[in-house]
Symmetry: D3
Subunit: 163 residues, 6 copies
């Protein structure tokens, strides 16, 4: 990047800095996969209640899973420059740890562009849903550490985040 | 919370742990406001490019602002147990810092329930949009520290997060 | 109804038979409530599996409940002449019987028009979701007996369906 | 199905009973078709009015047809575990009988999974729209007998419902 | 407007030119109404076919009416800075003239801000739907002269366009 | 077209004048492109302010660009008989002229049917967004001359509008 071309490397900006969808017409459909993870940090007694609730068939995580799956399918409505993609698989899972619930979303498509935004969006919306369902017990929760952990398929090859 | 009633305090779960929307019919409409904040952490050279890009009229933050505002209005479609609310104001703003872009969303309504989920959703979607528009330069960015900072109006009074 | 005015009594058609939204500007907001019920009829072994699944924390009914609640909120996008309403409460519940799962949806609003379409839509979409989640076991299921059972609030008074 | 594996045969539940989208990445796109039917049962005088109304160019069935077609396209937003599919054809038709209006929806796609949920959703939403447009004349109508009548394409072969 | 303050008078831009929703929290709900009109210009033989089609119960205008009504209800999803409003009435009508079909949309709400964008959006989408349904006969049609003709209610008083 | 068959040539109407989606199952996916243009006519001082605003980084055109791109992706929700298509590219651009802002939208897909409605919809919604953002300065603006300028790909060959 130089001063002369401040947008070099930003594929979502044209030479004058204007937003654009990347043209993927010339790409071939291929299997693409992305995995994203995030965490909802909360007070220990809420984690404990959530763990107990899960044991007792509470719906918190089931609702958050549905919300994440549905959000993945609507990513292109939320993130303005994302392409609409036919997702062939979306899985959202949770792990109740110490002081936090971890969220993992894995998304697959057979299409012309990658699904990292779909995985990240599923993660964020599932996390926000957990926040919503627990907020009457703790308003100080935070959603954080939302990141891409794996991306494969497509020309750019496989990416794996280092822990 | 006791073993006998594992869902006490979770207003989104009934006595058997099943998901429910909170019934707000009996509440009176009143002015309610919420402010949420979050951060997109990225490599220094991307922050620098973004800062330069902003100076050069790049659309990154303008697009992210629109995405956040639109997401706030659609919160009840994303978060399953949220009520649909007529938002009277949504403002999304950014601050380019060292190694991160901060996002702040402030939402107001004159309605029967609060807008913290709308503010948090606006924050997350604006942050994800920044990720999307910069990901060709840095896949290792993280969205984090998304939290409620202020909530006022309604019966439960004013909440302010301690820094 | 006479031949001269074939549309008398159809508030959604004007004098020339053209579709119209009923104008509710002059009505006052008031508490309105509607309850709808329906059934998904299925083979006994699927009902049994579903009952066992519920005991084992299977997500079928949790997912169907979320789908019904979310559909209620989007009724005005699905049913062309429905008004968009701010729903103050949506509850969807199930009863696993002999050869069928019963669905009940109860919806409330404080607004200018009734919520029977919201309750019926929640019922249908929850029933369709059960169909979707069980269809790998039985394609011959039917969704049926979807009807309004109770409607109160507004000028037209209370309606109760006779069993 | 045995007690040891209560979710066997439910492709939308994993081994622990958690909701999942079926992974269709490995399937090949092929022509798939589904036909669903349902009925709106109503008082004879409303059927008569509707029949007369149709003759007089009333919009009831035209609006219901559009609602059904549009709902088919949005099935994946309504039914949480449905894949988003590019529908190549949706047709919704009606038959005014004695005491009921029959609805038939036929949907086609060239994609990796079937369209039975799209056909059933189109049927239900078209039926609900008829309910909406006639409810000022009869609140006791029922939507019923919504079932899959035909399904072809894909690995599982052709299914035809026995009358 | 002066060079010093290039955004004066643009209520959707703040002092630094950034997009914002106008804050309407302090306004009182009141009856507001807007009427917009537009035209689809087409070849005479298509207008003639459309006129004949209407006589023969063709669905073109019925479908366009539904599309316009539904679009009005979704205006805040399409126009980024529009507030979501509960519309109390939407009417879309057509007049088949010489060489053009005229579209008129009238929208009402009892809310805190006006509905001119809803009326204009209904007009445009109804016109585009006519285009879509006739384009196999004439690709050279134009949608034009879409303008606000009347606006009443709210603090700014009544506006009427001069013909 | 004859009196005997008033719907000949209207592919969106069946032989009885009923709305239908065109069945594209038998078509092959191929690259298709469409370009549409339109104009927002406004008072000279608003054009001047907009031009100055653009220079000063005002968000008007950036917001309108995003709105147009997002609307293109949702065309099948707005225009009832449009097929849902996976768009591979959407570009929206503006030119500030004398007394008007011109809008151009170019859309591409690799799919079974054309994208002229997507280009026209992007154009209209971008134009309406400009209207929305400038309406506090001029209510008399008009959206007009929205037309298809180019269409290529598919069996019907290339269409170019004559200026």
């Amino acid at each position: 990047m130089t001063d002369e071309d401040p947008f070099a490397g930003f594929t979502h900006l044209d030479a004058r800095g204007r937003a654009q969808m990347v043209d993927v017409s010339a790409k071939q459909p291929s299997l693409r996969r992305a995995v994203a993870r995030g965490r909802v940090t909360m007070r220990p007694e809420v984690v404990a209640a959530l763990r107990a609730g899960t044991i007792s068939k509470g719906d918190v995580l089931a609702v958050a899973r549905v919300a994440g799956i549905q959000a993945a399918k609507r990513t292109s409505e939320l993130i303005p420059l994302c392409h609409g993609l036919a997702l062939s698989s979306v899985a959202v899972d949770f792990e109740i740890g110490d002081g936090a619930v971890s969220v993992e979303a894995a998304v697959e498509t057979v299409d012309r562009t990658g699904v990292e935004m779909e995985a990240l969006t599923a993660c964020c919306v599932a996390a926000l849903t957990i926040y919503d369902m627990c907020k009457s017990r703790d308003r100080s929760m935070t959603v954080g550490e939302v990141a891409l952990w794996e991306k494969s398929g497509g020309r750019s090859g496989t990416y794996r985040r280092e822990p």
